[in-house]
Symmetry: C2
Subunit: 344 residues, 2 copies
Amino acid sequence: MTLLSEIFEQPTCLRRLLEKRVRVEAIAEAIRSKNIQYVFLAARGTSDNAGRYANYLWGAENGLPMALATPSLFTYYQKPPRLNGALVVGVSQSGKSPDIVSVLEEGRRQGCLTLAVTNAPDSPLAACADLVLDIDAGVEKAVAATKTYTAELLALGMISAALKNDEAMWQDLQNLPGWVEEVLKQDEAIARMAQRYRYMEQCVVLGRGYNYSTAFEWALKLKELTYLIAEPYSSADFQHGPIAMVVGGFPVLAVAARGKVFDSMLEMISRLRQVHHAELLVVSDDEHALGLAQSAIPLPSGIPEWLSPLVGIVPAQLFACHLTQAKGYDTDTPRTISKITETH
Amino acid sequence: MTLLSEIFEQPTCLRRLLEKRVRVEAIAEAIRSKNIQYVFLAARGTSDNAGRYANYLWGAENGLPMALATPSLFTYYQKPPRLNGALVVGVSQSGKSPDIVSVLEEGRRQGCLTLAVTNAPDSPLAACADLVLDIDAGVEKAVAATKTYTAELLALGMISAALKNDEAMWQDLQNLPGWVEEVLKQDEAIARMAQRYRYMEQCVVLGRGYNYSTAFEWALKLKELTYLIAEPYSSADFQHGPIAMVVGGFPVLAVAARGKVFDSMLEMISRLRQVHHAELLVVSDDEHALGLAQSAIPLPSGIPEWLSPLVGIVPAQLFACHLTQAKGYDTDTPRTISKITETH
């Protein structure tokens, strides 16, 4: 099974990318040499979820506000906004989505510094960027992206560490492949756990802060692979209306890693369990949070919050993969979608 | 029924707000007097959908890139990004959500120009803003916001017209209340149409460009009121994976107004009908798009694309209201949620 083997390739891919510290520091130096006021980031699908991660990480660690681009302003409307002061970033596995390429081309036309984060250094996206970071994850054959997602997160995390010139962050990064390996050891347990959800038709996926990205990416894998209706939310947005749809037994998947937003996630999980009698599947490094769940997936202890999305997505990938098998679907070539989606 | 009567109040509310042109022009003048490089906008729930509208409108018509704020960076993480060059905007019906207030307070602390768009000019949000635009929609009693949503969109649209000093846009705005009145005449037809969806449990809502906001707001009304799983997408993001979940008979709700993104929406709708055999409910001013749908809700002709979200959301509100009744739920006080959600 290609999907599962690509999930298992992740520690190797992450180690290979970690060796590019010198290259990433050169990129950071080029960024620091400009007077960047904010980041304008264009991405779609899985890469857009990597952008959601950078939105928090670069905001918190590097003080950089981030606008997530609306590519149709550049393509259909042909009314791109003024980008002076922006670092224009495109994130794309294939580097081929025409709308993402358009955003970088316009950024370059307006004289902005442009950066491509891609698995295809010879792609059209890379060709129109001043700076290219090749995530070097190897060919990804499964339609559902896994190893390129964690590699994109790592690339964005390394850029953050380099921009901040923060040795402690670089040290944390060295531990990442080992944590991912620890999670992969739970593969069989997660395969058994997935059986319970064989007939689940819809669910909600919650995460907050850095793990807002994890909620989106977990939901996307479920939609692509298992054809579930899986809707991602921050726990805050969920309270502003959508929580109304939770009835007894309604499945809620949650990523609750220790850190600044943990208490608010725990409060939401407790309320969902105790007041709404939801069914909970929780990925966490906290025993109390795990104890509230019908299905608990523990994370290794000691992961700093900013790296928790890179570890926390791995059990979610495994869960999506095994649920796909339990439902009798094809993990490598889901119906309807293709590897490269050429949106304009 | 409070909800229905508030939906019907909209032409009156819109006319009242349109009288504030002088006030809006003064706000625009204050914004123009600063060297604004981008907009940093904070909102939650329905108001966040109004922010999605401004993201397109202010980008296309005013050349302003927009970053949608991640409020938890200001509250839980206490690591707000550097906001120099930003116009910091808070949009909130009640003006009371502490996290949205935090973003404006930080903007002011950093010396940015701050703007509050709110239905509560004596609220904490208004108190910490340099500029306040009171949307003056009157007290909204139903928990699901309707008249304050269209009033927020209108406020953001008026600011766009004033910033651009575009008399043609102001002329278009004068026609808005009449178009909304025309749509309201379809109330009975929409009530009958809603019967067909009595047992619908999940759906997808599609929109693109300016009407990306409409897809999100329609889905939110359905979730709040009917407890449906209703997931919003741009047609572009939908292609990047989630389309895999569409099987024969799967209900897709779509807003397809004529304009720059219409052809791409029409292509998606055609494909969903002809290839995937989806069930389609389409809101459109185009006969071909309406002809593809099992349930068609026509919009008045002649609406410019940039105003189509203000008219197109009205049949969606009526549909959500009548479906709530068909399902036997309470339209005025949905379970679980409250009017003011105090997220941090």
